[in-house]
């Protein structure tokens, strides 16, 4: 177990080195000798930024779609209240659907919230920090805090969801939704989306630090 974590850390640090060092190298070449073509490192830099863009687009699309779930949850829950108090009707199926919507809302909107800067920070120093210092904090934070956390969660939640898929786990209630395996899958999906957004965050921070563009 620990070995896996260690390997992941090493990979992460290696990626960090590449991201930070390569563009710096490229810019030093172009400064000292503008005639020397530096298309190859520049190409990697651009490819990484394109990757970050792609991740941003993915998470924005997923997050903005998931955002509508809060309205659905409110309306469905309200319908349940009306059904229960006015018509004395209940529906296990609908009750569970509300929970599914709520769980999906949280897990699918989280990475987009990170992208939009919606996760609170203790900003006593951050607020006053220079753009470079902020980029450094984001780079170190995404590589040493976010990615290990999310990769370990992904690695733990994968078998957790897989066990549920293996038996196509259904609700404990007889009339409940037979889709618990989908609900549990939200956790590895959350971890994967967050990890991707962490990669995008690291790339953008490294880009800002490299001083290019």
């Amino acid at each position: 177990m620990v070995v896996v974590v260690m390997v992941a850390m090493i990979v992460i640090v290696a990626v960090m080195m590449v991201v930070v060092v390569v563009p710096g190298h490229a810019s030093s070449i172009s400064e000292s000798a503008p005639d020397v073509p530096s298309w190859q490192p520049l190409g990697l830099h651009m490819a990484l930024l394109a990757l970050a863009d792609r991740i941003d687009r993915l998470n924005r699309a997923v997050g903005r779609a998931a955002a509508w779930l809060c309205l659905a949850v409110a309306l469905l829950q309200f319908a349940l209240v009306v059904a229960r108090y006015v018509f004395s009707l209940g529906s296990v199926w609908l009750t569970e659907a509300v929970i599914y919507g709520h769980a999906a809302l949280i897990t699918l909107a989280a990475a987009w919230t990170l992208q939009a800067g919606g996760h609170v920070r203790v900003d006593v120093f951050f607020e006053r920090a220079s753009p470079r210092a902020r980029a450094l904090i984001d780079l170190v934070g995404s590589l040493l805090l976010l990615l290990p956390f999310m990769l370990v969660l992904l690695w733990l939640a994968w078998p957790y969801a897989a066990r549920s898929w293996a038996i196509l786990e259904r609700s404990r209630e007889a009339s409940g939704l037979p889709l618990v395996f989908l609900l549990k899958t939200l956790i590895p999906v959350f971890a994967a989306l967050m990890a991707l957004q962490g990669v995008a965050q690291a790339i953008r921070a490294a880009d800002a630090l490299s001083g290019r563009r």
Partner: protein
């Protein structure tokens, strides 16, 4: 002290230190805790295998039907913010009381209380009041410090006056801690404490704060009349009558709070009624097209933010417990002089200090699981009373310098004549009032416990 416990202490210090770097709190909590789990595993202080419980814990959090009330209350607040209920309330209240000395300040407090009872989102209240009340107060020659302080403090009333998101989360965490405390005492059919208990318990202390704030403003009006002069003349024409303006928030309060307190509906059910009610009220004023997407997106982001902190805190408490931290806290608290009172005092002091750097959600998710089970095991500590003490204490954290979120919201919208110094000095008397309220609650727990007992026990 065993090595594992040393590690647990170092972890708490490391988390606090890392938080200051400014990386998102939720991920800092999770990432640092993970690093300590790895260190603990390598040094045989704990087993990494304990983390296997993490997915099941997170699953429990996202399928918890009490916490389902959170996005619903947030949606309700966001919708009311966009439908400008706050603005209208402030305008008509100001017209009602403005001709009295100190009247504008008093109406600010009353509006804060009303909005608090109808939305539960501090940012919304602070921004609305900062935009409207502050310029009005300055125009009428209020002392800028008094104006800023009154607005900041009134906006934080949203936290304590139910229904509030903070009370929902606090109620959930307290219940878990309370169950653990009773199990540890060998009580295998433990009592529960519900969000409704906390809502009922918070009403009297919330009103107590309103009375204390108003008392302070009256005292200022009497002893330093120049600081809060009366409005010379009623300005502008009333767009809507006071009855009309009061209708929306009062109807929502009655529907939401009434149904919870009288045990008709669960907080989650009532929250959905509130959200749909707020939707209907907003639709009258803002076209559906421009209303829904921003409201849904803002609600989704606030909800995701809160729950991801909870994920990070889950990781933290899992590792903290694996390192034996909870036993350590228990023995440390019981070893304090003064028994339960001493332990309670220590916890309250710690929460007050943490309030300078963390906000309410983080403190609830990190501190309650650590100290709750130990503290609630002690004789004479009523869980509702403990919860309300924490809530009032946390409310203070929303306004005390330098990190109270309300102060930032206010800075963002305050007119240039109001400086950061004005805001910081302005909230000082109100922070003192909070402490007075805590002392009162300490000696008269009845304020917090009477209403829940009358309603539910």
């Amino acid at each position: 002290m065993p090595f594992a416990e040393v590690l647990a202490v170092v972890m708490v210090v490391a988390v606090c230190a890392a938080l200051f770097a400014g990386y998102p709190v939720a991920l800092t909590l999770g990432g640092v805790s993970l690093a300590f789990a790895a260190i603990g595993h390598l040094t045989d202080a704990m087993s990494f295998g304990i983390l296997a419980a993490l997915p099941q814990r997170i699953f429990g959090v996202i399928t918890n039907d009490v916490l389902l009330a959170v996005p619903l209350f947030v949606l309700m607040g966001v919708l009311l913010e966009q439908s400008r209920v706050a603005e209208e309330l402030i305008e008509s209240m100001g017209r009602l009381f403005g001709k009295l000395r100190g009247g504008l300040g008093i109406s600010t407090v009353l509006v804060g209380a009303l909005l608090g009872a109808s939305t539960g989102v501090v940012g919304a209240t602070a921004v609305a009041m900062g935009l409207i009340v502050l310029p009005a107060m300055l125009r009428h020659n209020y002392d800028p410090r008094l104006a800023a302080g009154a607005v900041a403090a009134s906006a934080t009333l949203t936290q304590i006056i139910p229904p509030s998101t903070v009370l929902v989360l606090l109620g959930d965490q307290l219940n878990i801690a309370y169950q653990a405390a009773q199990l540890a005492q060998g009580k295998f059919a433990p009592d529960a404490i519900s969000v409704a208990d906390l809502f009922a318990g918070a009403i009297v202390p919330g009103l107590l704060l309103v009375v204390l704030y108003i008392g302070f403003l009256i005292a200022v009006a009497v002893f330093r009349p120049a600081a809060s002069p009366a409005m010379a003349a009623v300005e502008g024409q009333a767009r809507t009558s006071i009855v009309n303006v009061l209708f929306a928030p009062v109807a929502l309060i009655v529907a939401v709070l009434g149904s919870i307190l009288w045990g008709i509906a669960t907080p989650t059910e009532a929250a959905s009624v509130g959200a749909v009610g707020a939707l209907l009220l907003s639709v009258r004023k803002v076209p559906l097209k421009t209303l829904l997407r921003p409201a849904a997106e803002k609600t989704a982001q606030i909800t995701a933010m809160i729950f991801v902190i909870l994920f990070g805190a889950t990781m933290f408490s899992l590792v903290f417990r694996a390192l034996g931290g909870d036993d350590m806290v228990h023995s440390a608290l019981t070893a304090l002089p003064g028994g339960a009172g001493g332990a309670m005092l220590a916890v309250m002091f710690a929460v007050f200090l943490l309030g300078f750097v963390m906000d309410a959600f983080e403190i609830i998710f990190v501190v309650i699981p650590i100290v709750g089970p130990a503290l609630l095991r002690m004789p004479g500590i009523d869980p509702v009373w403990f919860g309300i003490m924490i809530a009032v204490n946390l409310q203070t954290s929303y306004m005390h310098p330098p990190l109270g979120p309300t102060l930032f919201y206010l800075r963002g919208v305050a007119p240039p004549a109001i400086t950061t110094r004005h805001i910081y000095w302005g909230v000082v008397p109100f922070v003192v009032i909070q402490l007075v309220a805590l002392v009162v609650l300490w000696f008269v727990p009845w304020f917090a416990t009477a209403l829940p007992q009358a309603l539910y026990r």
